[in-house]
Structure formats: structure tokens, C-alpha cells
């Protein structure tokens, strides 16, 4: 269940040509080409889905549960990410999509946007209390959270210790159903995810003692099913209970709108995220109160499990402003203890780049890396199966490969 290889991205080895497209674009250098196939070093994978996006041969398969797995449960609740709403053109009524989900076999729907509005309110409370180190970094994007735990250990104390909006929605959805008298074992709550990082986070219960989702579906798979049922819906039942504030979380900057303050920074796209985190490490962003970071361009609507172009989806999300109330979920109405919104388990820093646990050995290895690197052509051609000459030198010293794999070195 917690295995990253089963819950992020898998390889269709027949389709993989061993080209270097995915390896060159992986932001954490988590891919190597070995024996002509792309191999993921899963302890470095943040689930961002960049490799899925870049593969010219569709050999990278994002992991998620098949739609029909919902029928393993008698009472099925769909918990859609707000990105799903951004996939549809000229959507006048959010309820049309939610009614479509009922048509597809769900008994009820609980929008993730509702969880988002609650998380926004708790964030505002935390910021008012002023106990957390500023700038506060959002914990909503699990790929960014993984990135910080792998590469930016000194910033871990800036991260908001709140669970994901989906985790709030999934647990509230289940409780609501149980309150109706439905036997717990009959209830299946299914998150509809825009990206592999959220599939992994929700399936493994990142920040929680046990996962809140019984399964995680992909936005694109659900979208195509919805297309065939939505036109047939005659009577639209009112299901939606969210404001635009929750739905805006689907696009970069949306979460920041919910803090009701001006000194925020919202960056999207993994390269930009890395730049912001580096600047924070250097102490350059101390005048900022809140930092929202999304691994995907444009935010969650840019997730690789969506169908629509993220920029188009973003416009659609924004346009819903006229159709929805500003805000429709409040902490006092839900009436849960504050712990409900906070991490039960703090995600741990991971030493995936550390050369050795013995400092002297690590220094020796680093010296060896510098020496090997100096001999390499610095072309970063990828022919050796490593994403850069630097990474290759590291791999050689770590015994993962041999120097003769570089064929462009001057002998």
C-alpha cells in the first residue's frame, strides 16, 4: 500500500525505448536509463508526473484505481478535486457535474473544495496566532511537501502542519454517511485526483495514521465517463455546498486568496518552486507571510491526470465566481476539534541525497565525485544513463554504474 512504485508512476517496459526524455526532465534526478529502459529511483520520486508528461511513447503510466473498484462498496461517495470542475466548457452549474457522478454509480458526493475552505479558515487562525515561523509554506501540494522533506530540510519547520483538503473532505464524507446509519464497512470514499502525487499521498495517508481514502480515481478517467452521462441528465439536484474560495484552490494563487492577506507568494511549476525554496533558504523572503507552492504549472489544474489545458481550466475556474457563493463552509458549523485539521503524523525529513552517514566517508566520496566530474565532458548528454555528468559522477562513486559508461570522455 505504501509502496511508491505502485502508487506514483509505473513503466510500460514494452513501450519504453530507453530515450532520455523523462530522465532529463525529472526535477529530483530520480530516473536513470539502465539496460535500455527508464528506471525510477523511487526513494527520490515526488510523484509530480513530469515524466508522464514528457514521455513521447506513453510508456509512463500514472497509478490510480480503476473506476469499477467503486463497486466493491455498497455506499459509494465521490470526493472530487475542484480541478474536475475546470475540465468542462461553459459550465453554468457545478451541480451538473456532481449529478453526473451520481449517474455513474455514486450514492453521494462530497466536494474537496469544502475541505479546502475549512483548511483556509484554520490557516487564518494559525497565522493570527503567529506561532509558526514565517514565511509559512503551504502543505497542500504533496509533491512539494516531498520535495521539501528530501531537499530542503532547513525549511521543514516553516511548513503548515495541516492535512490536505481532500483528507478533510474524505473523513467528513465518511462520518456523514455513518451518521445516516450506513454500516462503516459498506462505505467507500473515493478521491478523484488530478495528479500522481495526490494518488500517492491519499492512498498512503500522508500526515495521517491511516489513509482516509478507500480508493483514488483519476480526473481524466472520470471525465470521459461523465461526458457520456451529463447530457442525459434531466433534473439537476442541488448537491454542491462550496463557495468559489474552495473551488479556486484548483488553480495557483487560489489557496492564497483564502488567507485574506496580501503578503503572499504563489509559485507554480516545479522549476519555479525550486527557485522559491532556494531563495527562502538564503533568507531572501523573510518579508513574506505565506508561500503557496504548486509543483504543476497553473496549480492542480496542471496535474497530469487532467484532460484540459491548465490555462483554459484556470479561466473556467475563475468564471465560476458568478455562479457560486464566496464561501460556504465554516469551522464552527462542522464543529470538529482543531486536531482534526492537523497532521497526526509529521512527515519526516529524508536523507536521499546524503552520500554517507559517516561525515569523513562522505567527504572522501565528495572528493572522488569532484575528481571524476573534472574528467567528464560536461555535455550532460545522458548517454551514460544518468541525467547529468554531475549525477553520473555521483552514481560512479556510489557504485551504481561504472566510468566506462561515459563514451564521450577523452581517454
Amino acid at each position: 500500500m505504501t509502496d511508491k512504485s505502485l502508487n506514483t508512476v509505473m513503466l510500460d517496459a514494452d513501450r519504453c525505448k530507453g530515450c532520455i526524455s523523462c530522465m532529463k526532465r525529472c526535477p529530483t534526478e530520480a530516473i536513470r536509463v539502465r539496460n535500455g529502459k527508464a528506471k525510477v529511483l523511487y526513494d527520490r520520486c515526488i510523484g509530480c508526473g513530469e515524466c508522464v508528461r514528457m514521455c513521447p511513447h506513453q510508456a509512463k503510466l500514472p497509478a490510480y484505481d480503476p473506476f469499477d473498484s467503486i463497486f466493491d462498496y455498497k455506499y459509494r461517495i465521490a470526493v472530487p478535486a475542484p480541478s474536475l470542475i475546470g475540465q468542462f466548457n461553459n459550465l453554468d452549474n457545478v451541480d451538473l457535474v456532481l449529478n453526473g457522478l451520481i449517474e455513474l454509480g455514486f450514492n453521494d458526493v462530497f466536494e474537496v473544495a469544502r475541505g479546502a475552505e475549512l483548511i483556509s479558515e484554520e490557516t487564518r487562525n494559525i497565522m493570527r496566532e503567529g506561532k509558526l515561523k514565517k514565511p509559512i509554506i503551504s502543505s497542500a501540494c504533496p509533491a512539494v511537501l516531498e520535495l521539501i522533506m528530501m531537499k530542503y530540510h532547513s525549511l521543514a519547520s516553516h511548513v503548515l502542519d495541516l492535512v490536505a483538503p481532500a483528507d478533510v473532505a474524505l473523513r467528513l464524507a465518511r462520518e456523514e454517511a455513518e451518521a445516516k446509519g450506513i454500516p462503516p464497512e459498506d462505505i467507500g470514499v473515493f478521491f478523484i485526483s488530478p495528479c500522481p502525487a495526490k494518488v500517492y499521498a491519499l492512498k498512503t495517508g500522508m500526515g495521517l495514521k491511516k489513509p482516509a481514502a478507500d480508493g483514488v480515481l483519476a480526473v481524466n478517467e472520470v471525465y470521459f465517463k461523465l461526458l457520456s452521462v451529463m447530457p442525459k441528465i434531466k433534473e439537476i439536484k442541488h448537491i454542491s455546498k462550496t463557495g468559489i474560495l474552495g473551488v479556486r484552490w484548483a488553480a495557483s494563487g487560489g489557496e492564497s486568496l483564502g488567507i485574506f492577506q496580501d503578503r503572499y507568494l504563489a509559485a507554480d511549476g516545479i522549476e519555479n518552486v525550486n527557485n522559491v525554496l532556494r531563495a527562502m533558504e538564503d533568507g531572501n523572503l523573510n518579508y513574506i507571510d505565506f508561500v503557496e507552492l504548486n509543483a504543476c504549472t497553473s496549480g492542480c489544474v496542471g496535474g497530469v491526470l487532467n484532460v484540459e489545458n491548465p490555462f483554459v481550466a484556470r479561466v473556467r475556474i475563475r468564471a465560476l465566481r458568478h455562479k457560486l457563493p464566496p464561501l460556504d463552509n465554516h469551522l464552527d458549523e462542522v464543529n470538529k476539534p482543531r486536531e482534526f485539521y492537523h497532521w497526526e503524523v509529521t512527515p519526516e525529513a529524508k536523507d536521499v541525497y546524503k552520500l554517507d552517514s559517516d561525515f569523513s566517508v562522505a567527504i572522501e566520496k565528495m572528493r572522488a565525485i569532484e575528481q571524476i566530474y573534472a574528467e567528464l565532458p560536461h555535455l550532460d548528454c545522458g548517454g551514460c544513463g544518468a541525467p547529468s555528468c554531475r549525477a553520473f559522477a555521483e552514481d560512479v562513486v556510489n557504485g551504481e554504474t561504472t566510468l566506462d559508461m561515459c563514451t564521450r570522455r577523452e581517454q
Binding site: G283, I363, E364, M366
Partner: protein, 140 residues
């Protein structure tokens, strides 16, 4: 005793590449498994120093020695020199030109921050010859 020596050229008047030396050092320290607090101290102090060389001295050289017990950073330039070091160390004192301030630099916090985040700091400066800043961050 194991130690590692790194050297970098810091290009003058190039804000695009400014910070690249400290970034390399940061990456190296992380791979060595140095405590995150110490990494952050080195990052902040070295970044400030690097930017100073870019703004005031037309670049210079950075050399870093990493030992089991400390990181020593030496930033040497052949810039105009600092006439009054104690004045330069005051919070908010800056001689950065307006064009640099418009870029968001030159708030006069560079040297004070470098001192704040390091365990030792010495400045050797001769007007018309150059400045050498030596900083040490202890590793526990």
C-alpha cells in the same frame, strides 16, 4: 582529518548568476549530511557575501573549506575596499547605488546578517586594494 576544498569565481555585475556559488556549496553540504541549521547559516551568510562582491567589487573569488568540525568561507575581491568597517557593520548602513536598491538589494543588512549567521567573521580591507571576508560556521 578529512576536508574538502571548493573554489568559485564570482562574476561581477551579474545578478543572474549571483548566488550560484553559495547554491553549489549548499548542495554539497546537504550531500555530506551536514545539519540543516548549519546549512542554512552557511547559505545565508555566503549568499549575502556573494551578492556584496557582485554589487560593490565587480566580483571576486570564493573559497570554501569543509572540515568535520567547521565550514570556512573566504570571499576575496579586488574592489574599492571598505573605508570604515565598523560603520559598514551597522544595520541599515549602505553605500549601494540607487540602481542596485531599485533591484531590491542594498538594504544595508548584508554584513550584519553575515555576522549574525556565522560563528566567526573577520574583514580585512584596504581602500583601493580590495576586501577579504573570512567566515566560519561551526558544525557540531
Amino acid at each position: 582529518m578529512s576536508s574538502l576544498h571548493l573554489e568559485f569565481d564570482v562574476a561581477g555585475n551579474n545578478f543572474v548568476s549571483a548566488g550560484s556559488a553559495s547554491d553549489e556549496v549548499k548542495k554539497t553540504l546537504k550531500m555530506l549530511g551536514v545539519d540543516p541549521v548549519a546549512v542554512r547559516k552557511v547559505a545565508i551568510a555566503m549568499y549575502e557575501g556573494e551578492i556584496n562582491m557582485v554589487i560593490h567589487a565587480g566580483g571576486g573569488k570564493a573559497s570554501v573549506d569543509i572540515d568535520t568540525d567547521k565550514v570556512k568561507i573566504v570571499l576575496a575581491d579586488e574592489g574599492p575596499g571598505i573605508p570604515d568597517i565598523s560603520l559598514a557593520m551597522k544595520d541599515g548602513y549602505s553605500t549601494a547605488p540607487d540602481a542596485i536598491r531599485d533591484l531590491g538589494f542594498g538594504a544595508g543588512m548584508g554584513l550584519p546578517n553575515m555576522k549574525k549567521y556565522t560563528d566567526e567573521m573577520h574583514i580585512d580591507s584596504t581602500v583601493g586594494v580590495g576586501t577579504t571576508v573570512t567566515m566560519v560556521v561551526n558544525l557540531r
